[in-house]
Amino acid sequence: MSVIKGTLDVLVLKALSWQSMHGFEMTRWLEQRSGDRLALEDAALYQALYRLERRGLVEAEWGQTEEGRRARYYELTRAGRQELTEQTEHWLRYAETVTDILTAVPRTA
């Protein structure tokens, strides 16, 4: 199942709302949460990160992994948290509406 356009950003924000992590950690988190159902090119995730960074929704800093490797860690900003709340609400309402429409039973005369 491929990711619907525009939803990757909010998924990334959600991931980072748990804790700050680097790119690969985020990939693993998404794969695990989706039960490997989401087919996602890794590069797309990074693009989403850069996009969010540019908008000031996430911040990045170089740090070290537990194994002592140099890695770029991403963190949610206050604006990012706000965005996540709004986008989550929006998504839920949207999904509900679409679900309602798609599951409506045609009335037979």
Partner: protein, 887 residues
């Protein structure tokens, strides 16, 4: 070096696109490695795992490229945001710092505002007078005016723009010119009856407008065909006159307008602001009639062909010029012709106002630069004073760049504040300067409404920001100053000496300017105190325009004017009225010789004359000339009665020393005339103007003189009475149906007009002198503050050794006043040397006027005291222990 400093200043260092790419690579590498490790754990062999990890990351190069681009874009955007934030923070800090020290901040803003405002005003003037071409003239650079120049040997050069019509015909076909036009501007009476006014009327030949390229606002202008046609008299209204007289009614075109009592048909309206090629307003343009074409007072303008030069045109005109053998205009015979730009005046030179404006512009720029230098110094002093705060910041990790940027932000804020305030200053200065220098310029628009000048103001403000913001910041960033920040300023003696010299120079610069202002002020006061022998305040003259024939009969003129006098006397609000032929301060003076029985001749006096006025009985009372002995004329002194005369004091005392002038008699005009008996002696009167030399003046009663005509009424309105010139005009027109127009003038205004050069001097010198004084104040203050900061240690020691506050204040102020005194001495020296150059422009005032010099010196020393006071007070706050500990 400078570049790297500026780069540091603005934090240009940081991520470049290459860095962005490298970061992406690093990130990607880790990702692929971790993914591969995971795949290996799932059972793939390392090589395959690696390939698979790569494939999972990005299927093709396009994806990678997009990724890189996103990173580059991200970094670019973030750098910008960071920079804006950091600048905003600097500005906030700087603002807070300035607010904490509002005195200095306000002072700097005011100094910058005055400096910049004055500069903008001066340049506005210069632009007006010299740089701006006349409105509505197409490619004005190619339009030139011709002048005749005659070398009269010992008498010097005579240059004039008056050229005879015959020469115009010769110059019409010069190769240098595309076209040639002629015009002249005369004062003529426009309109009829009580509505008639003397106006500036331009006589133009048909080719004049096409040459300029001006387009009509409405209707049409004249063109070359009109010269040949015999359609009659044509007129074009100036836009302003059309608005005021015809309320902008398009129906005005086709109507008739009287110019010097001759009807002209209005054919069009000139565009707003059009004044021909000269800056002064023109109310009506008329097509020059063939009757006036033979005259000599034409101005010739030509449009140069592309590539032709003024020099070539002048040489060509001189070569072509054949003197008119009829010889009516003799001085023009042997002239050299030259061509000048339109900005030049009638005398073929740059107008004196333009020279003044140029001078003023230069002075203001110099002063402005010195202001910048002083403000920079002052800011550096602030840095020195705040070195503790700054040192703490450095200690807390603020980089040097940060402090530099903070100072730059302070300077920029001050400069911007000054720039905004300077617009206000320019607005206030403008009407003053305009009134003094440009009294009769048409179509003045505020410089604030002029895009170019607003641009100039903006540019000056930018330069100010650069000078006042960047320079101290660079200075503060230099290692020397940073070292000073750590240790406290210890001004080297060389630096102090340099700054001391600069301060002396500034003080010295302001002295001659202030002396000049004082001398002009004194001149104006002298003029005010001058006894003209008449009382011009509120005094009006009124001349009735009569059909020409009426003018030629003395009896008719007397009759008419006696009737007019009666009519005006009955007007409410008129205190007194009289008739006079030959009025003082009115431009024309009549003179007629006298023969005194018992004298071979009478001495010639430097003021000329003897001048004669022919006046009605109430004249002396009306004009305010005192009769010192004897009597004034009465209504009984008229045609047919005993010939009588009143002489002035100079005439009485010179010709009849010993006071026996009364009842003596003399012959007027020719020895055979009846001997007129002296019945009164009047006070001497200024006939020509403010500068008057003694002359013989005498008065004859109206009706007893048949030499001169040209009567006028002198009217003195009652003080405080609501009396309008229009009422005067209406009364005179109503009194005699043959009066077709009335011209009313104010004698007071003609006196005021003579004050104009003095006012110009006062304004230019006053403005630049005041500015220079302010700059000197600023400089002294900066220097004193710097000295106090540098001598904290010494002052601390003195205080520790028992010096009182008074001692400390005295110590600081003495050195300030000593510098100012040196400046005053040098400045007064300059003023004394330059004095003779100024003296001819003054009125009854020596250029070495002691009072003025003493006052200026006092003002400067007082300024120095003020400038020294604040730093001196600060010096008393030096805590000896603290000052000694900072070592």
């Amino acid at each position: 070096m400078l570049r790297s400093r500026i780069r540091r200043l603005f934090r240009l260092r940081g991520l470049t696109p290459r860095d962005s790419v490298r970061e992406v690579d690093d990130e990607m590498e880790l990702h692929v490695e971790l993914r591969a490790a995971e795949l290996v754990r799932r059972g793939l062999d390392p090589d395959a795992a690696r390939d698979e990890a790569r494939r999972l990351f990005a299927r093709d190069a396009g994806t990678l490229r997009a990724l890189y681009a996103a990173a580059v874009e991200r970094d670019r955007r973030m750098r910008t945001r960071q920079r804006v934030e950091s600048v905003a923070q600097d500005v906030r800090y700087a603002f807070r710092g300035l607010i904490r020290d509002p005195g200095i901040a306000g002072f700097i803003v005011v100094a910058l505002a005055l400096g910049m405002g004055a500069t903008v005003t001066a340049w506005t003037l210069l632009d007006r007078l010299l740089l701006r071409p006349p409105s509505h003239v197409v490619e004005p650079d190619r339009v030139v005016r011709l002048y005749g120049e005659l070398d009269r040997g010992d008498l010097g050069l005579r240059t004039s723009s008056w050229i005879p019509y015959s020469a115009y015909l010769q110059f019409r076909d010069l190769a240098s010119f595309e076209s040639v036009g002629a015009y002249r501007i005369l004062e003529r009476v426009v309109g009829e009856g009580a509505d008639a006014r003397r106006m500036r009327v331009g006589d133009a030949l048909g080719g004049f407008f096409p040459l300029l390229g001006v387009r009509p606002f409405a209707g049409r202008l004249f063109d070359a065909r009109d010269d040949a046609a015999v359609e009659g008299n044509l007129a074009v209204l100036a836009y302003d006159l059309w608005r005021s007289r015809y309320e902008g009614d398009p129906g005005a075109i086709g109507r008739s307008i009287l110019v010097d009592d001759e009807p002209h048909t209005i054919v069009g309206v000139a565009p707003p602001g059009f004044t021909g090629t000269e800056p002064r307003r023109v109310d009506v343009w008329v097509l020059a009639s063939s009757a006036t074409a033979g005259t000599t007072n034409w101005n010739i303008v030509g449009r140069l062909r592309p590539g032709a030069t003024r020099q070539a045109a002048g040489a060509e005109a001189t070569a072509v010029h054949r003197p008119d053998e009829s010889g009516s205009f003799t001085w023009f015979r042997d002239v050299r012709i030259f061509a000048g730009p339109l900005a030049w005046g009638d005398d073929g030179r740059e107008p004196v106002e333009a020279t003044l404006a140029r001078w003023l512009a230069a002075v203001t720029v110099i002063i402005l630069l010195i202001t910048f230098a002083n403000v920079v110094n002052l800011l550096l002093v602030r840095v020195a004073r705040r070195r503790r705060e700054l040192a703490v910041r450095v200690a807390l990790g603020s980089g040097r760049g940060r402090i530099v940027r903070l100072i730059a932000a302070e300077g920029a804020l001050l400069a911007l504040g000054g720039g905004v305030a300077s617009l206000l200053v320019a607005r206030l200065l403008e009407p003053i300067v305009r009134q003094a220098l440009l009294a009769d310029q048409a179509g003045w628009t505020s410089s604030l409404a002029d895009g170019r000048l607003l641009g100039l103001a903006g540019a000056i403000a930018l330069i100010a920001v650069a000078c006042v913001g960047v320079v101290p910041a660079l200075q503060a960033g230099s290692p020397r100053v940073v070292r000073a920040l750590r240790g406290g300023p210890r001004a080297g003696s060389a630096t102090l000496r340099l700054r001391g010299t600069l301060t002396v120079v500034q003080a010295a610069l302001s002295v001659p300017l202030l002396v000049g202002a004082g001398l002009f002020l004194r001149s104006v006061a002298n003029v005010r105190a001058l006894d003209l022998g008449i009382d011009p305040e509120g005094l009006l003259t009124a001349e009735a325009m009569l059909p020409r024939l009426e003018r030629f009969s003395f009896d008719r003129e007397w009759d008419t004017y006696r009737r007019l006098e009666e009519a005006v006397r009955r007007l409410p609000g008129v205190e007194a009225v009289a008739v006079s032929i030959g009025l003082p301060l009115d431009g024309g003076s009549f003179s007629a010789p006298v023969w005194v029985p018992g004298r071979d001749s009478i001495p010639a006096l430097p003021g000329g004359g003897p001048y004669v006025s022919t006046v009605s009985a109430d004249y002396f009372h009306t004009i305010g000339t005192a009769i010192v002995r004897g009597r004034a004329f009465t209504d009984g002194d008229r045609e047919g009665s005993e010939p009588v005369v009143i002489v002035n004091r100079t005439m009485a005392t010179t010709l009849w020393p010993g006071g026996e002038a009364l009842d003596r008699c003399f012959h007027v005009d020719h020895p055979g005339s009846p001997c007129a008996r002296i019945v009164g002696i009047a006070e001497d009167v200024h006939r020509r103007g403010l500068r008057e030399r003694p002359s013989f003046q005498y008065y004859l009663p109206l009706g007893q003189q048949r030499m001169f005509g040209g009567a006028k009424l002198v009217v003195r309105p009652a003080a405080g009475a609501a009396f309008s010139r229009d009422a005067l005009r209406r009364a005179m027109v109503a009194a005699d149906p043959r009066v077709w127009a009335v011209e009313v003038r104010s004698l007071e205004e003609s006196v005021q007009g003579e004050l104009r050069p003095l006012r110009i001097g006062m304004v230019t010198f006053g403005m630049s002198g005041g500015l220079a004084l302010l700059v000197a104040l600023l400089g002294l203050y900066g220097l004193m503050s710097y000295m106090v900061a540098g001598r904290r240690h010494e002052i601390g020691v003195r205080v520790a050794l028992g010096a009182t506050h008074g001692d400390v204040v005295g110590l600081v102020m003495r050195s300030g006043i000593a510098l100012a005194a040196a400046g005053v001495a040098v400045g007064l020296g300059i003023a004394l040397v330059a004095g003779p150059w100024l003296e001819p422009h003054l009125f009854d005032t020596s250029a070495r006027d002691v009072t003025v010099m003493v006052l200026v010196a006092a003002v400067l020393l007082a300024t120095a005291a003020v400038a020294g006071w604040v730093p001196a007070r600060r010096a008393t706050h030096v805590d000896p222990t603290e000052a000694l500990r900072t070592e």
